[in-house]
Symmetry: D3
Subunit: 193 residues, 6 copies
C-alpha cells in the first residue's frame, strides 16, 4: 500500500459503480468536502455497500433517545479498544463536531475511564465496551446498571447494536487497511466557545 | 428470561411487523420448518432486520469462489471463539448440512486446529480467526499466506468480511441472549453415506 | 496424523498390552460398542493408564452429593474453555445421556453463562471455571458462594478436583491430538420425552 | 486458614487413614524429615491420594531418558506460570537438590527464558510451557522442534505428561490453599562446590 | 476530581515549592505558554520531581542517534498501549511538532502497525512495544532485528530505556489521574507545508 | 551472553566511570560485600545511573509511613508479575532481611494472594498490582479501599510510585538481561528466631 492509497484494495472507478452507490458517495462528498475512504473502499462491493450504510443509518441516523454525540462516543470508545485507526480518526472528528467538544474524542479513544464523562455516559460506555470485548459475559445485571442511569430497554438495544456494528466495521477497516482521510484529523478541534 | 423465550427482548407480534419482514420470516419458516430466533429477535427493529439480512445475503448467498460450506466454516469457527451459543448451534447445523459432514461443525467450533481440514481450509480459518480476534495485526503477510493456498484477492475480502459480519452478529446474539431454536441441535447429524 | 488415527502417537497392539489394561478396554468396548480413543492412546503407557483411570473413577464414579450429570457438566464446561476437542465431544455425549437432555452439552461447552442452568448449577460452574482458568485467584469467598447454594465442603472439593483432573486430561488430549471417536457426536441427541 | 494450617481443608487424623496411605506418608516423613503438606492434604481422600501418587511415580520416578532434574525443571517452570506457591516452593527444593544447583529453581520459576539453560533445556521448557498454557495450539511443529534437540518421541510424551499432571496438581494446591512446608524454602541452597 | 483539576492529588502552592523545582516549572511555562500538569503534579514531591526530570532529560534531551521525533514516537506508541491519556495527548503534541507531521501521533497512538512508518521506524516500535508489553520475552533475536535496520547497540539501549521510562510515567499519570492540559490537543495540527 | 556476564551489555571499566558513580558502587560493594549487577549495568550511562538511583532513594530510602519491608513487598510482588528475574532475586533477598522473614519473599513473588499477609498488606499489594498490571483502570474506589485499611493519601502515592518505578526497573532488567548476582539467592534465608 502506498501511503496515499485508500486501502489495500484498490478503489473502483466511480464511473463503474452503480448509480445509487455513486450518488451516495457524491452526496457525502458534497456535504463534507471529501469522500471518506470507507465509502470508496466498500464501493468495490455494491451490495455490501448498500447493506453497510443502510445498517449504519438505521443505528446512527434514526430518531431515538440517544443523542448523535452519544452514539459517536460509543463508536470512538469501542474503536479505540479495537485499535481501529480509520474509525477512531473519522468518528473522532464527527464526535468533536456533534458534541461541540474538541477534547472528548481523544479522551474517549485512549481511556474512557479518564474522560470528562457524566456518570450516565460512563455507564453507557461500560456497557458498550463489554459488548465489544466480552459480549459472552453480558448478563441481566449489565442491563440493570443501565436502567439505574435512566436508559430504557430500547436505549440498551441501541448501545449494544452500535457497539456490535462497529465491531464489524473496525474489523473491515483493519483487515482492509482503510486509511483515514487526512481531512479528519483536524476537524472540530477549534476550542469551545 | 424464561428458558423458552427467544431472547431477553420480547419478540414482536408478527401481525405488527412490516409485510416484507413478515414475508421473509414466513419464507424461512416454510423452508426450515421453524423460524430461527434471530429472525424473530431482529424483527423488533425492521430497519435493522432488513440491513442485517441484506448484508448476510450479500456475503453468504452470493456467487463467488468460496463454497457455501466454506463460508459456514468461517462462521462456526469465529463464533466458537466469541462463545456465541446462538451462532455456533444454528450455523453448526447449516455447516453439517452444507458440508454433508456430521462431525465438522463440532470440530471447528471447539478447536479448528484439530479439525479434519485440508491445508487450504486451515489457512482460510487462520486468516478468519485473526480478523475475528486481532484484526489490528492483519498485515500483507496474512494475505500472502492466503494466496499461497490459491485464494484470490476477492476470496480474501470474502473471508474477512464474513468474519467481520459475524463479529457483529455474535455480539448481537450474546448481548440480546438470543436462544438457539431447539431444532438446530440435531440437524444434519445423520452419518455420512 | 491421518484423519482416522486415534492420536499422533500410535496405539499399541492390544495383544501387547498388560492383561488388566486390556480387560478394562474390552469392558468399555462391550458396554459402549466401541473403545474410546483415550483408552487406546493411554494404553501405550500402562502405569499412566492405570493411574489415570483410577483417578477418573475416584472422582467421576464414586458416591457423593454431586450427581453424575453434574460432574459431566463440570467436565464439558472446563473442556470447552480449554478448547479440548476430545473431551468436549466425548463427555458431551455422556452429559447428554446422564442429564437426559440433548441440548445441555452444546450449551455448556460454548458458553455456560447462556445455558439452561439452575442458579445452583451456575454457581457450581462459576467455581469450576475459576479453578480451570485462574486457580491462583481462588479464595474463601469462592467457597462461600458455593455454600450459599447448598454445596457442602466435600462438594467443593469434588468440583475443584474434577476441574483440576480435566485440566490435565485436556492437556493430554490436546498435546497428543487424541481424536474423538466418530460415535460420540450423535449419541444422546434424540429429543427428550 | 491459620497461617500454620496445611490447607483450607483440615488434614485427617493419621490414625483414621488407611494403612497404605499412612505408610506412604510415614516413609516420606522418614526420608525427608517432615511430611510434605500435599500428602497430608490428599490423605483426606484415600482413593485420590493413591491415584495421584501412582500417577506421580509413573511420570517422575520411572526410568526414561529425561533425568530427574529435567523433570523437576518442567514442574517448576509450569508451576511458576500457574502461580502455584506450593509446587514452586516444594519442587524448587527438589530441583535444587537433583540438579545440584542452588540457583536454577528460582531462575526457572520466575522466567525460564533468562535461566542458565542449554538450548536443549530451553526447547524442553518451551514445549512444556506451551502444553501448560496453550495446549490447544500444540502442533507437529512443536514436536519437530523437540526432535531437533535430540528428544525422542517418548521423551516428548513425558514432557507433555509432566506438564499436564502439574496443571492438575497446581490447580489442586491453589484451590485447596495447600501451604508449602517451611522446610522447603531453604533446602538445597548451599553453594555448589 | 473536578474536571479542571490537574490530578486526583492537589497541586502544591508554587510558593511552597523548592526554588529549583519552581524555576523549572516557570521555564517550561515561559517556553510553552502553560505549565504541563505533570510538572505541577510531581512538584508535590520535590525529590521525585528532580529525579523524574533528570531521567527524562537523560533519555529525551541528550545527544544520540535517535532523533527527537523518533524518541517521541516511542513515547506515543507505548503510551497508547498503556491507555495513558496524559502521555498520549501531551507527547502526541510534541511528536506532531518534532516530526512536523500533524497525522503521525494519532496514527501511532491508535495502531502503529497502520501508521505511515518506514521499515526502520516499524522495527524501532516493534522493539519498544515488546519492551512495554512483554519485556520478559526480549531475546537476542529482538536486538538482531534492530541491527538489521541499522540501529547500533546504544540505540537499542535508548529505545528500551525510553519504553521503560514511560512504562513508569504512564502508571504514574494513570494512577494519579493527571489530566492533560487542554492546550495540548490542538498543538501541531496545522497541515504540513 | 555468557552465563557469568552481568548483562547483555558489557559493564564499563570502573576506572572510566565518573567519580560519583564509582563511589556509589564502591559504597554498596563495601556494605553488601559485592556490587549488585544493576549498578554495574547502569554505570554504562552515568546520567541515567544518577537519575535512577536518585529516584530509587527518593522512594525506597526516604522517611514515610510505609516501612522498608513494606516497600520491598511491593517490589517483589510486582516484579514477580513482570517475570523480572533480577528484581525478584535481588529484592527478594532485601525483603527477607528487612522483614526478618525467610519465607515471605518467595510467597509474595509467586502468588501474593496466598502469602502470610495481614489484611492491610493484602490491600497494599492489591493496589500495587493493579498499578503494575492495569493502571488505566485505577479509580477512586481503589484509593478508598486503601483508606479503609488506614493508608493515608501520601501512602497511596508511595505505593503507586514504587509500583511504577519498578515497572520501569523490571523492563530495564528484562530488556538488558541483567543477571542477578549469585549472592542474592541465599541471603536472609536463615530461619526466624
Amino acid at each position: 500500500m502506498t501511503a496515499r492509497s485508500i486501502s489495500r484494495f484498490a478503489a473502483p472507478d466511480l464511473a463503474d459503480v452503480p448509480k445509487d452507490v455513486r450518488e451516495r458517495i457524491e452526496a457525502v462528498q458534497e456535504k463534507s468536502g471529501f469522500a471518506p475512504n470507507v465509502f470508496l473502499a466498500l464501493a468495490r462491493r455494491p451490495e455490501e455497500f448498500r447493506a453497510f450504510f443502510a445498517y449504519h443509518d438505521a443505528l446512527m441516523e434514526k430518531p431515538g433517545n440517544l443523542t448523535k454525540a452519544e452514539r459517536e462516543m460509543i463508536v470512538v470508545a469501542t474503536s479505540g479498544l479495537n485499535a481501529c485507526q480509520y474509525c477512531v480518526v473519522a468518528h473522532g472528528a464527527i464526535l468533536r463536531i456533534r458534541a461541540k467538544n474538541p477534547l472528548l474524542a481523544d479522551q474517549v479513544a485512549i481511556n474512557y475511564r479518564k474522560a470528562d464523562l457524566t456518570p450516565r455516559h460512563r455507564a453507557m460506555l461500560d456497557f458498550a465496551m463489554k459488548v465489544a470485548a466480552r459480549s459472552h459475559e453480558i448478563e441481566e445485571a449489565d442491563y440493570e446498571a443501565l436502567k439505574g442511569h435512566g436508559f430504557a430497554e430500547d436505549d440498551a438495544w441501541d448501545i449494544a447494536a452500535i457497539a456490535a456494528f462497529y465491531a464489524m466495521s473496525n474489523r473491515l477497516a483493519n483487515a482492509f487497511a482503510i486509511r483515514p482521510n487526512d481531512e479528519f484529523y483536524a476537524m472540530g478541534r477549534e476550542p469551545r466557545r
